[in-house]
């Protein structure tokens, strides 16, 4: 988006003097009120060696009590700074400690410019490289490296050159368009806003000059129209679709398409704070159309002749920002602007060791990990590449239970565009296969306690359907465990993964035009819900085999209940572990009732299915 308020992230290792350099910048640019300056002259933090009466610059920037107590920065502070050009920079002062890396990522995500500090006496540290890496990852294109504390190395040109050489090598692969190196001393005020006598060998810019030049933002040349709909506003005689023009331009009379419906329509009215002919990116608009369309929050107004990057599987970069590690197969809620969709991390290609810039293998993600992953969504979604647009190509993952934001993702590209899939399926697709079979397919998902009779019922249902000419397959939990899921145990995590595999297998089966009869304990509601989300409503029928516990125990086909009583089987559903009964199954049957009646009621679901498209 175009912007004249420029965000700058100020980062670097702890104790490299970020707060002091920032404080100096703010004071030199006359951005701090006099009474606040007075406070910084009189207040002193523990261990401070700055004489009372002089300005402790770091006090101007560390805002939280615990930060002042410990003398460190924990979270991002946002401060306004005015450049000689009259432009405004919002400086995001970000923490240097490794444990607060995620807060640094928050600041970098919004930044156009990075101001990276290096301590001249200590040189390049692992956090320096880490922060540079994260800036690159977050799409920051311009970086100013301030080699600070030059006073401590006697303003040595040689020392400066050493650091420039070392960093240049590391920065070259991180995607920055412009890099500027400045030797400074925040403490003394060297090369911050004025050229200093101490460094006559430095022909380059001061920090303020570098910021001033970098703040000139080039015009946004992304012409693809994107307006994610945030809200629908009911006006007197029409509906306004309200959102922000994230890229491209909009005018009255323009033809647009609305994703996901694909409806093409013409813009008949635009309400915006500033009325104009052409609405540029960054503008808040409310758009009305020449006819009624079906659109809601999370839909996107797009250009009419575009091949939209819609897919269910995306290759993305990701930073994990939660204390809770990522669990294999766990389903999360993905949010990208107003879009909301269940998602899981289907593969971790590699985790990047940010200090060494090396790619390492990993089976899960934990706090501050940066990784390249594949995400799989419950339905096809439009996500741009992060490179082309941070707002429509960036997303977050939220935990379903704690509701916390656990990861931030940057889309690289769709792995398989939905348009390609459609084209491929056109030759022989589910429709053709079902036509050949002579019936429509669906999933019957039998869930219930062990020994509730799922396998027996599945067998009867298959016999009955087979007799009527239906193509069928039973996917039985025990069978799956001996093959497809033989690597899994019975922890909650492994059960989730087992359910996920069975669900995808069932999905392939119904694509083949075959009725899938799943007999699986699947005790956890969340897992079954995740399975259900793979299917449209008329393709998935949850059948709750609700057999009384005492009947299950007395049958105890595999001796599980008996062993559980003796504490031999850990994590045994029903005895050792809770079975979460479905609240709203398509059908509830009692496995202790007459088998013929039970079977008939389940078969009825398949017959009924034939009436739907």
């Amino acid at each position: 988006m175009n912007s004249s308020v420029v965000f700058t992230v100020i980062c670097g290792s702890v104790d490299d003097g970020k707060s002091t350099v920032l404080g100096r910048l703010l004071v030199d640019s006359n951005s701090i009120p006099a009474d606040t300056l007075d406070q910084a002259r009189t207040t002193r933090r523990a261990g401070s060696v700055i004489p009372v009466g002089e300005i402790d610059y770091s006090l101007l920037t560390d805002g939280l009590e615990s930060e002042r107590e410990q003398g460190i920065t924990i979270d991002v502070a946002y401060r306004h700074m005015y450049l000689p050009s009259g432009r405004r920079i919002i400086m995001s002062d970000s923490p240097g400690h490794e444990q607060y890396t995620r807060n640094m990522a928050v600041a970098a995500a919004k930044a156009h410019i990075a101001l990276l500090l290096v301590d001249a006496s200590r040189g390049v540290r692992s956090q320096t490289v880490r922060h540079a890496n994260i800036c690159g990852l977050m799409g920051v294109k311009k970086i100013i490296v301030a080699v600070n504390k030059m006073d401590a190395v006697d303003y040595s040109e040689q020392r400066f050159t050493e650091i420039v050489t070392e960093l240049n090598e590391r920065l070259s692969s991180l995607g920055f368009d412009s890099i500027e190196y400045v030797p400074v001393s925040g403490l003394v005020g060297v090369n911050v806003s004025t050229h200093a006598a101490q460094t006559p060998w430095h022909m380059g810019k001061t920090l303020v000059e570098a910021l001033n030049d970098f703040a000139e933002v080039a015009a946004d040349n992304n012409t693809q129209l994107r307006i994610p709909v945030q809200a629908v506003i009911r006006t007197v005689d029409n509906r306004g679709y309200a959102g922000q023009v994230m890229s491209g331009t909009l005018r009255i009379g323009q033809q647009v398409q609305v994703w996901p419906s694909g409806t093409t329509c013409t813009v008949s009215a635009i309400t915006s704070p500033t009325q104009t002919d052409v609405y540029q990116s960054g503008t808040a608009v409310s758009v009305e159309f020449d006819r009624e369309i079906d659109a809601a929050r999370g839909h996107i107004i797009c250009g009419v002749d575009e091949d939209l990057p819609v897919s269910r599987v995306f290759l993305t970069d990701m930073i994990w920002v939660s204390d809770t590690p990522q669990a294999k197969s766990q389903s999360y809620i993905l949010k990208a602007g107003p879009i909301e969709v269940p998602a899981s991390i289907s593969a971790i290609r590699y985790v990047t060791d940010m200090d060494e810039n090396e790619q390492i293998e990993s089976s899960s993600l934990s706090m501050n990990d940066v990784a390249r992953v594949e995400i799989t969504l419950a339905r096809p979604v439009l996500l741009d590449s992060y490179d082309s647009n941070r707002d429509t190509g960036g997303y977050i993952l939220c935990d379903r239970l704690t509701q916390e934001t656990v990861a931030a993702g940057m889309v690289v590209r769709p792995i398989r565009r939905e348009s390609e899939v459609l084209r491929h399926d056109f030759t022989v697709g589910r429709v053709q296969r079902e036509a050949l079979a002579g019936h429509k397919s669906c999933v019957l998902w039998l869930t219930g306690l062990p020994s509730s009779g799922k396998s027996t019922i599945a067998d009867e249902v298959e016999k009955s359907l087979h007799g009527m000419g239906y193509r069928t397959i039973v996917i039985d939990g025990d069978t799956v465990r001996t093959g497809l899921s033989s690597d899994l145990g019975f922890t909650n995590e492994d059960r989730s993964e087992n359910v996920r595999r069975v669900a995808h297998l069932a999905e392939i089966v119904i694509q083949a035009g075959v009725v899938a009869i799943v007999a699986l304990v699947s005790p956890i509601a969340k897992d079954r819900d995740a399975a259900r989300e793979l299917f449209k409503d008329t393709d998935f029928y949850e059948v709750f085999v609700d057999t009384p516990l005492d009947v299950c125990e007395s049958r105890d086909v595999k001796g599980l209940y008996a062993r559980a009583r003796k504490n031999l089987v850990a994590n045994m559903t029903g005895a050792g572990q809770g079975y979460e009964a479905p609240e709203n199954p398509a059908l509830r049957v009692d496995g202790s009732n007459d088998l013929t009646m039970v079977t008939a009621s389940i078969v009825e679901l398949v017959l009924e299915r034939q009436n739907h498209p």
């Binding site: 004249s4 006099a34 939280l64 502070a77 005015y82 990522a105 009911r234 309400t271 808040a284 509701q403």
Partner: protein, 306 residues
Amino acid sequence: MANSTSRALDDVVLAELEAEAIWAMRECASFSNPVLMYSIGKDSTVLLHLARKAFASGPIPFPVLHINTGWKFQEMISFRDNAAQELKLDLRVHSNFAALDEGVTPFTHGADEYTRIMKTVALREALDLGGFNLAIGGARRDEERSRAKERMFSLRSAGHTWDPRNQRPEFWSTVNNLLPEGASVRAFPISNWTELDVWKYIRRENLDVVPLYFASERPTIDVNGSLLMVDDERLTDHYKQEPVMRRIRFRTLGCYPLTAAEESDTTTVDEIITELETTNRSERAGRLIDGEGASSMEAKKLEGYF
């Protein structure tokens, strides 16, 4: 501070800040039960105007809540009621009635405790009573240093406490609007505005503000160097001083025993802007409550104050 900039650049900046605030307002509407906090001051006036713009030409899709401490200037209350009527607002007013009954005042309980009871506790009560899980406020990052640390959508745990060490990360234009049981969010659509932006926007949009922002002859008393305006006899009764007419205005508006005025000849928005472009004092210097304890704003925020 705040170098004077060209009008053309001002317009571009204001348009951007406005668009960002409107985006935030629309995200607020995606929460299940939002409410807009209205404190009647200049920031609230701008906030309300932005809410109207965000949902034009429909109505503002959430109610407007005023926490009345019982010590607001009379001019503020009548301004509020006019605004509510003209803009057809769904206005809710709440006070800590129990504390009012017990006779809690700034004089009996001290500024800090009074603020906690009449503002922080009252706000928590009102949010709980209304079941609101998102409260929109007019706080800005340039106001005060703990506010500089705040996210635009800032999570409060059940009990309304703020954990500044563990804030929800905020990325791009994506808001996590999922909340744990009992938690709520404070949203600050004008986070990135400065005091000067607010006045320039008021000028551009030609908004009415409470007349107390403009200089006029008003009855005042001098308490330890702070000029307090006499709004009713409760103040003079307490300080046992005869009011003196002075030409004063307010830079910020709070409870009248806790908000100092300044002597001024500034009578128009243009003059306020010129004054701000040339003066060099922080905005909340006139708020007597902020000074107590080195970072008392943060202490209040931890408990649920805005």
